[in-house]
């Protein structure tokens, strides 16, 4: 049996540090919002001329008077991703860009993907993304409250906040792009982290019923250990799936799978080191759940 409870304090401090650091990052550095949430134009293009590189593309785009833009490589040798921040582009803007590119660089370009999001739509998407995440947290809080007791609900929600905030903090730290699929990833992290916490909580509750003489400090440790191999196996299989999406699923799914990988790692950790210490702090005992049973 591993004494997880010996490290409750230490890891709580580390988590607190990470959460604070993430919040500071989010506050001061902010998130790198993609076209979905900031508006603008995104072009994924493939050139059939090997001589064309980021520098030459950057040069020719800077001559087009498009305002702020960003050119980077995207997966393949000849694939590039261009983001233009200017919001209201006229109906034939893309056509003009295509013509200008061909005339300044020669060769032919295949515009594999074009996304153009107006300011109104992007702010709506951002709003609905935030609402979705808030709503899912609220729904989880409510569900655990119904299935368990409020102490469990609080612990689970704090663990969720922890996972979501640290994942977003890492995205801020590394300036990774936040787009619609990241919102999907965050929601899935919420589901996964909850799933992991619930399995341990279920065991805590079962053990609380069984043993009246064991303190919660010990009891959480026993429960974590009893469910440990399941926790590890499920994390491993989920991570195997996610890593294969990350490595082989193509460039578009990279951000999504990376966010999920972070989320699964933190979700697993927080089920042990956030969700359970909270039960200890809140002095959960057999009485807490017996009240539930008699009601």
């Amino acid at each position: 049996m591993i004494n997880f409870n010996k490290f409750y304090k230490l890891f709580n401090l580390i988590s607190l540090g990470l959460v604070v650091a993430s919040i500071l990052l989010l506050f001061f550095k902010g998130l790198n919002f993609g076209v979905d949430f900031k508006g603008g134009t995104l072009i994924e293009l493939r050139s059939n001329d090997k001589n064309i590189n980021v520098t030459s593309l950057r040069q020719s785009f800077s001559q087009m008077n498009l305002g702020d833009f960003n050119v980077k490589k995207f997966g393949n040798e000849n694939d590039f991703l261009i983001k233009i921040e200017k919001k209201d582009t006229s109906a034939n803007a893309i056509e003009v860009i295509k013509k200008d590119l061909t005339s300044s660089l020669g060769g032919s370009f295949n515009f594999r993907r074009v996304e153009n999001v107006g300011p109104k739509v992007s702010s709506e998407l951002l709003k609905s993304g935030i609402i979705a995440i808030a709503l899912s947290l609220a729904a989880m809080l409510f569900y655990i409250w119904i299935r368990f007791e409020w102490q469990f609900s609080l612990g689970a929600i704090l663990a969720l906040f922890h996972d979501v905030i640290i994942t977003l903090g890492l995205f801020s730290l590394f300036s990774l792009e936040i787009n619609l699929s990241i919102v999907a990833a965050v929601l899935t992290i919420v589901g996964y982290s909850m799933n992991d916490t619930v399995v341990i909580y279920d065991r805590v509750r079962e053990n609380l019923r069984k043993f009246s003489d064991i303190k919660i400090y010990e009891l959480t440790n026993i429960s974590i250990n009893e469910t440990l191999s399941r926790t590890i196996i499920t994390s491993v299989t989920t991570l195997l799936a996610l890593v294969s999406i990350y490595l082989f699923g193509g460039e578009i799914l990279k951000g999504f799978s990376l966010a999920m990988i972070m989320g699964v790692v933190f979700g697993t950790y927080s089920s042990i080191y956030i969700a359970n210490p909270i039960l200890v702090k809140l002095r959960v005992s057999q009485k807490t759940i017996l009240k539930e049973d008699t009601e």
Binding site: A91, E115, G118, M194, V199, I245, I252
Partner: protein, 517 residues
Amino acid sequence: MLYFSKLRITLVSFVTLFFIYFALSNFQDPENSFISKRINLGLDLQGGSYLLLEIDNEPVEIQKLQNTTTVIRNFLKSKKINFNDLRIQDKTIVFTTPIMDVGSVEAFFLDKESEINPYYNQYKSHQFDVIIEDSKFTLSLSKYGLIEIKTSSQDQALEIVRRRVDEVGTNEPNIIKRGNNRILVELPGLDDPMRIKSLLGKTANLTFRFVTQNKNDTFGTEMLQFEDGMSEAMVSKRIILNGENLLDAQPQMNNQTNETVVSFTLDRVGAKRFGKATSTGVGKQLAIVLDGKIVSAPTIQSVIASGNGQISGNFTFQSATDLALLLRSGALPAPLNIIEERTVGPDLGQDSINAGVIALMIGFLLVIIFMFFKYKIFGLIANITLLVNLFFLVGILTLFEATLTLPGIAGIILTVGMAVDANVLIFERIKEECKKEKNNIIAFDTGYVKSKTAIIDANITTLIAAVILFFMGSGPVKGFSVTLAVGIFTTLFSVYFIARMLTGLYVVRNKEKTKLI
């Protein structure tokens, strides 16, 4: 107990085979397949264009105010009521009446049978809200008046957009309303939406009006630019003909001048009016105005009574074709703005499919290898369950002809990773029970019973996240939530019906064995 009736085994096998067949039918040639249902590929996988259009209703509102002002003027005149200063001001109509008439004028507006301020029974509201200060009336469009305008212009715009898209002839376009002032256009397989975008960007409001030199024309005049932007002309506001009078329009080559023109045919009313106007206006210039710009202003040579005519104006064959198409499909009630566009080329779509399939196969392989090494025979059972689960998942998506997107494929792969969780929970529990309980069969049974709450709770949390994502997410992300949610149900089914049966059969045969798992 771990006993399964023959009926249950047959039923489960039947359901399993049914879904395997459904899942596999996606890979068959649709011609030779018994099942015609297919998973739809999202625009991000098959390539295509997604356009979100917003209707700019302001011109419609202003038009409505102008029309209403005219109606009010005529109405008050006919009732012999004096009024002053009738005008439009900040999107409201204002006017004053003598104090003694205020009561009766108010009644005209607030009567449920009102001729000038229609009453909507379903909303319990008039078209206009009326505010009266002393003798000053202020009319503004009511909330429902605005909604009425929006929905009616949305209905009209939808129809016109559909006609224009159909004329271009893309395959299976999907054109639907969004909210009360937006239209969503999905064009599968179209990798360059340039032409459609430019067609949808034009209101195509066509009018025929006389060019005039007389500023005091009774109908009023306005200065309009020519399409080339080089010159302008003064045009009467009197409309002789508009686009609604057109029966047909086609691009044509004029053999005499050797230029491309758009020839049109007028309906009966239009032909009559056109004939009358051309007979009185020989020698005058007739401006053909499209969306506030003059296309051309030919001089009338002779009477045109046939109802056939030509529009010339520096057209290429393409632009003549487009103009003819716009004229045939009719004018939009209001300008449309493209507020969101997402286009994916077919080769990127195919690349995404390939990458998704490879990731799925590798993810699946990694998971089944891991499970086999971890649990041996039981790992094998979990793996069979997982495979059947995948068939269920794809089968159900096929049955409902769901749309599969790239994030949707990610959802399937994620399901592969998470689906073994239920079996792992059960197996681990059985392991624990085996330590306390000598009888294998009882240990297995308790393992299933005791792990149930954890499995249900754990899956419901994921389901909650998926449902929220479904309602809040858009486009491709929605596809992710669908596969995730369906994956949860197929996982539970395959774990409790298939895995349970397989483990049951195995345990009953090996009930004496120690250290089963």
